[in-house]
Each structure stands twice: as structure tokens, then as C-alpha cells.
Amino acid sequence: MRAFAALIDRLIYTRSRNIKLQLIADYLRETPDPDRGWALAGLTDALDFPAVKSAMVRKLAMTRIDEELLRLSRQFVGDTSETVALLWEPRTSKPVVAEAADASISISAAVDQLTATTRASAPQVMEQLLDSLDVNERYALLKLALGGMRIGVSARLAKQAFANAFDVSIDDVEELWHALKPPYAELFAWAEGRAEKPDLSTTPFFRPFMLAHPLEEKIVDLAEHVAEWKWDGIRVQVAHDKDANGKAETRIYSRGGEEISRSFPEILAAFDQHAVIDGELLVRGDAQGGAERNDSAASFNALQQRLGRKTVSKKMLEEAPAFIRIYDLLALNGEDLRPLPWSKRRAKLEKFIPQLPGSHFDISQLIDAADFGALGELRDGARDSAIEGVMLKRRDSPYVSGRKTGLWYKWKRDPLVADCVMMYAQRGNGRRASFYSDYTFGCWTDDGELHPVGKAYSGFTDEELKMLDRFVRQNTTNRFGPVREVEKQLVLEVAFDSIHESKRHKSGLAMRFPRISRIRTDKPAEEADMIRTLQAMVT
């Protein structure tokens, strides 16, 4: 437990992605099985001990500390695991061997005990474990047991670290990941060249997504490429497979390879075909797809309330019903279709789609355009709906992971722009920690007041950042903790993909993907845009 505790402590305080990758990779190489596998599961939040819950831990802590002191401490620290780790007083003083690296209990021993425990015996097991550990190890143990590490390590980062550690392909790791269970002994054995690649033929594993390059100034030939709308939801993969006993399982994966099945029970229930699809997850509404059809989708905003939930209320299912608009078919009846050209996969998809219930699945229609110019006109005409733009896919492209040049392009609509006035600034993180690099900007109300409409921290060059930073420092009028209010005089041209109504901001508006496109030192603040102008752009 000691080495793992040291690892998570270092990860907590490390901001650099590269150093995080290196720390995790070093740990994975240096730690024996099965400890490293459990650690990896802990980092990716893949562990669950039904008998161990934070209410139980709090109750246990009260056997050592007064309830009121625990409550005050918890309030101050803001995290149950850390509070209990800090104030736990071991009943017996630590054995003298504590200096030795292997003195503390191993992760696997702790995991075994927590797995074997029942609700009745859990407090006693946890008590003994806590008594045998020092303060940092207690923190590691409680985080492992209760989940929710919140240490700035995504599952994707952990997988990348694994790939780096053993010099294997991240795509292979992604594919194998969800098929295997902690502590991933087969995964390590394969990565270290000690065993064959595990057989995935019966598991609904994750296939890394095929992604697109921005089209930029290029023109493509529509004889070679097919065009379809780029819907504004989240890209998902639904995989369904049967094990040797015929027991079926369906999983939904996000673009990053995180399993999000639990957030969308209606999709899980509706997908009963032995297949793997790639599509856009949307909720029903009338912002995308045109009002003339009855299968249109709501804006991204409406989808957002469905994301990241472990349980979904009935009300939510009724108010924001989800469905998937399918782009591609990756596997059917156990056959991997990814090597086939797009046109063949599309033909199979069109034949396959009637087998899925139309209530939860439809197919992303191809755009019928005579030539590239006509397509451009269609793309620009899509402004009134919340469609992000157009996708262009080579008709002969196999489905390959990542961004491969020349196969798929995304042709986003030209962004909307507005001239806004900088109102507040905040420092960035990491390399930018000494720069004021996050800006809140506003537009004018009819009464001549500035109301914030968004926040951006990208789109400028390093030189421009220095200039913006200098402006903030020289024009600060007020400070609220880390936030500086500035003289309302600098106009920023802000580009954004779309704008929506939102209760979160005083202006009642929220931008999607706002970024600074130009610094308009030439423009007086009074001539910046009106809120009214932005309201007219709402989709």
C-alpha cells in the first residue's frame, strides 16, 4: 500500500500530463501482480465494494472520535476519505518494521479482505486495515475502497500510461480493457510478452473510434466522398455480445472509452442485436433535424443533463428521452466489419437498421448534393438548426482508430462571432499558472450594462497571451479571491459554434466552444455587440 499511496500523492500534486504518465508507467513496471492491477483499477474507478460505503466509514470513525469533531473536520476538509485518514488514531502504535518498504499490507490483501466482507463484518475489517496503515496509506485505502479518486487521472490517461509502460499500442489496450476484469493479470502478461493476446470473441469490448481531420481549405470530390450531417450530441459506441453460455451483455462507451451504460438504461434495454454500432447519442427535441420530420433532436444543452449520472430518474427518462442516430456498423453477428470499405459497411447498416426499434435508433441520412459547391450551400443553410456541420467520409475507407489522413473530414460551419468586452480574468494552470489566461467577457444590455456571456481560455498565441496578461495586470479594478475585475475597455472578438439559452448566466445565454479569435484593440468598448444581437443567434 505504501508505494500506491506515494503514487497517488504525487499524482495529486502533479499538473503535467507527461509527468503523470511517467509516474503511473513507472509504478506499473515496478509493482508486482496483482497489486499493480488493483491499483490500475483503483485509478480508473473500476472497483466497487458493495459492503463498504462512506456512511459506514463515518460511523466507524465515530468509534474513535467524537461525532461533533468529525463533523467539524469533515466540513473543513470537504472529503470523507481524507478526513477519516487524517484523524484516525491507530489503537496500537505501528510495529518497528515500519521503515521497510514492504511493511504495510499489500493492496491485493486489502482488496481481498474488502471483497470478502459482508455489511456486518465490513466495519471490523476496515478498522483492522486502518489500524495497520499510516496516514497516507489510510488515504489511499479509503479512496480505493470508496472510489472517487478525483486526482486528475482519467481512465484514458491511465490506459495511455499502461501502453507507454510496456510499449504496446493504445488501441490494443483500449480494446482489451473492458473485456478484462481487475486485476488484469492477462493484460499484464500479454503486455510483457508472457502470453498471447486475450481472446475477446465473447465480450462486448470497446473499439477505438475513428476520428476525422478538419477540412480547412480543402475541396473534396463527392464521387469519392460521401457527406452526412455532423450531429451535435456525444459520439458513442454500443456493443453487444454473448458469452459461451449464451448470456448477452450490452455496453455503451463514450468517445474516450469510458463505459457510460448506466446513464442510458433505455438504450441498453432497446439494443438486443448481436452487433456493434457507432453513432451520435441525442435526446428528443426540435433543435436538430428540422421540424418537418418527427425524429428531430434537441440541442446539446438538453443532452447535458443526462450525462455523468449513475442513476436516472423516471422523470428524466420522460423529459429527456435518449436515442442514437447511427453512423456506422462495426461488427455484426461476431464478424468484425471494420476492415471493409465504408460503402460495404453502409449497405450492411441499411439492411440491419430495421431490426432495431425506431423509438431509440435511426440512421444518419446521407446528404444529397450535386457537387461540393452545392454541399457548401446546404451546410450554411443548416444554420438555424443545431447541427455542427458536415462530415465527409471516403467511400472506400476502412474503419481505423484515430485520425488517419485523407479518410474522414469534418467540415464545421464557420463559427459565429461576437465582439465582447473583457470583464474578469483568472490565472491558468500548469505552464500558465503565472498568466491571467481565463477571461470572462460580456455584451451590452439595452440599459447600457455589461452582462457576462461566456468564458474563454484559448484561441490566442503566446505573444497575445503576454499582451492580455499585461492588460489584466495594468487594468485591475477589483479582486475577488483569484479573480480580477478589469477596466471594461478591451474588446475581444469571440468565436463560438452555437449559442443557447441558459439560466446559469445573468445574460441568459451560454456559448458552445467559445474562443478568442481576435483582440480588437482598434475597437472602442461601447461598440461591442449587444446582448440582443446574441439572442438573435440562439438556436
Binding site: 500523492d9 495529486i12 500534486y13 502533479t14 499538473r15 472520535i65 467524537d66 461533533e68 469533531l69 467539524l72 473536520s73 473543513f76 476538509v77 470537504g78 472529503d79 481524507e82 478526513t83 487524517l86 484523524l87 496516514v135 488515504y139 490565472r427 494552470n429 499558472a433 503565472s434 495586470r473
Partner: protein
């Protein structure tokens, strides 16, 4: 014991000693102030007369330009004191920073001790805390919650040395409060055998010079000033916490940011400050020291001035000790440590 009847009267702006008509650590300018130590939240400028230790007066003189030789100010060594209005005052070491004192007051057969800020662990830069038996013990409670248990100082200093040695092409920038913490970190480093030159942000120079002039050995110190970047690689650099993420740090060779503070015990606090290397080094008593001190002093009443009063008050209750929270204003929680 009701507030009004007692001769020691806590007010939001400080502690008023009625028979002597003077204040201890007042937050406003008064005619006569007794000052426990030189931190800005205890020692303010503008008082008529000041009674304090020679070191505290020197620190106030440096900070406020007050003439320590002024006829209205009086310096008392630890163990010494004065009498006014029938109250006998004396100064006793508090172990917090150079010159820091507890104030013992004896009047009408009653002994009252005001601790100011204090700690119990050894500090190479100031005199160690002394247990002064009393009837009413007026204590601080900055870390008055059981989550605050400072690890051994040597472990934290060893972390600092290990880090700088592991990155010979970088530097470690330690945020430390200008009075007390900076000199303590330097002193502890020297005790652990770190004899390389230590670089300082300009704002720390004067106070370190004052410590040296008053007999505290800090080894070789040098202002960062215009030192070329590469010369500072492999070195420890100290700055005030506010400079940690400031433009100033851009002149340093790839600094690893550290912060020396008791608040570093809580991970999210350290993260909020963008700290990469938290060093749990405090000049305040931790939970064990606070509760042990109350037991050592064994007063009949404990009054709690500032910090996590509720936590320490609860401990008094659980241990059947009479306790009372004074809720003084203006005590800085974060930076003033």
C-alpha cells in the same frame, strides 16, 4: 464568570486589561498595547506606547519604521515584566517566531496567560515555549481540529532536500511567510546539513538580515535579484506565498513550487494553491500540541481566541474543562500563519 465583571475583557478588536487600561494585540491603534509577537495580525502600527520583547520591537521597527528606542516603548526580556494598575505583567517564550511571547498577568490573586500564537516543537530560530501555570489560559486554536497533526519537521525538510537533489537542472521554490516561517525553514535546512547558498525573494531579505543581526545563524543567503537563471539550478529559493505563481517566478529555472504551511496537510488546499510539493511545516501548535498544552497548563478556564474555536471548545467540553470562544476579529487564517 460574566464578561463585564472580569478584569480581562475580550473584545472583537483585542483583549482589554481593565485595571491597567491597556490592550493585548489590539486590531486598532490604542494608547498602550502589549504585543505578543511581530506578525501583522497581532502587531499593528500607530499605538501610543508598546510593551514587547526586544526582538518584537525590532521587528515592528523594521516593518513600521517605529523607533524601538522611543521613550514610549518598553522592551522586556523573557522572564521580565512590569506592573501597571495593580496588574503584574511578564513575558514568557511562546516558541512561535523570534521574540514571540505569552503574556502572564497576575491580579487580585488570579493568574491569566495570553498565548498569542505558539507551538511546542523545537525551532532553531526562537526560544522554546514554556508552560506557565495559570487560572485562565487564553489560547489560539489555528489548527483546532483533529485532522491537523503536523508530521515531524525533519521528514518534511528531508522531502525538500530530496526533491531539489533529484532535479539538479531545476530549482525548488518554497513559499514561506516573511516573518518566522522563512527563517525557520532556512534554520531547519541548516540543521539537516544543507549548506548550499539559499536564494531569497527580495521581500524576505530584510527580515532575514534582522534575524542574523539578532544572533540567529542562517548561513549563506543571496537575493535572487538579477542572478542568471542557470546559476540557481539545483538550489532552494524562498519567496512569500503570494509570489509563488507570480510573474516574478518566470526568472527562475523551471521551479518546482513548494509551500511550507500547516494548511498543506489538507490535499485540496495544497492543490488550490497550485503547489507541487506541500511541506507541512507550521509555526502553530497542531491538535495534539494544543490539547496537550491545555493539560500541561491545567487552567480552571480555557478561553479560545482564534482559529477553529469550535473544535477546541468541543474538546474542552468532552474533557470536562471549562472553555469559551472569544471570536476575535482580524486574525489572518491563511497567509498569516
Amino acid at each position: 464568570m460574566a464578561n463585564k465583571q472580569h478584569w480581562i475583557q475580550p473584545h472583537p478588536e483585542g483583549i482589554y486589561v481593565a485595571p491597567a487600561d491597556l490592550w493585548i494585540d489590539p486590531a486598532k491603534a490604542v494608547d498602550h498595547a502589549v504585543i505578543t509577537h511581530g506578525h501583522a495580525d497581532h502587531a499593528r502600527s500607530g499605538h501610543g506606547a508598546v510593551s514587547a520583547t526586544p526582538d518584537t520591537l525590532a521587528i515592528m521597527a523594521l516593518r513600521y519604521g517605529v523607533d524601538e528606542e522611543a521613550p514610549t516603548s518598553a522592551a522586556f526580556a523573557h522572564g521580565d515584566g512590569f506592573e501597571k494598575g495593580g496588574v503584574k505583567f511578564s513575558f514568557h517564550p511562546a516558541g512561535h517566531v523570534l521574540g514571540s511571547s505569552q503574556i502572564l498577568m497576575e491580579h487580585a490573586g488570579e493568574r491569566v496567560v495570553v498565548t498569542g500564537d505558539y507551538k511546542r516543537r523545537p525551532d532553531p530560530t526562537c526560544a522554546a515555549f514554556e508552560v506557565v501555570p495559570c487560572d485562565i489560559f487564553v489560547t489560539e486554536a489555528t489548527f483546532g481540529l483533529p485532522v491537523f497533526r503536523h508530521p515531524p519537521t525533519r521528514e518534511e525538510i528531508a522531502k525538500l532536500i530530496d526533491t531539489v537533489e533529484a532535479h539538479p537542472d531545476r530549482c525548488v521554490l518554497v513559499g514561506a511567510y516573511a516573518l518566522g516561517k522563512a527563517q525557520r525553514v532556512i534554520g531547519e535546512l541548516r540543521e539537516m546539513g544543507w549548506d548550499k547558498r539559499i536564494y531569497l525573494h527580495g521581500a524576505l531579505m530584510k527580515m532575514c538580515d534582522l534575524y542574523k543581526a539578532r544572533g540567529v545563524d542562517l548561513g549563506e543567503l543571496c537575493a535572487v535579484g538579477d542572478t542568471p537563471k542557470e546559476d540557481m539550478a539545483g538550489h532552494i529559493i524562498l519567496c512569500p506565498p503570494s509570489a509563488l505563481n507570480d510573474r516574478w517566478s518566470r526568472r527562475l529555472p523551471a521551479p518546482i513550487t513548494a509551500m511550507a504551511s500547516g494548511w498543506m496537510r489538507v490535499r485540496q488546499r495544497a492543490r488550490q494553491r497550485n503547489v507541487e510539493l506541500p511541506l507541512i511545516i507550521s509555526d502553530h501548535a497542531d491538535w495534539d500540541e494544543l490539547t496537550q498544552t491545555i493539560q500541561d497548563v491545567d487552567p480552571s478556564e480555557t478561553w479560545i481566541t482564534h482559529g477553529s474555536e469550535d473544535g477546541l471548545l468541543r474538546w474542552c467540553e468532552l474533557n470536562q474543562r471549562k472553555g469559551r470562544a472569544l471570536r476575535l476579529i482580524g486574525r489572518v487564517e491563511e497567509e498569516g500563519e
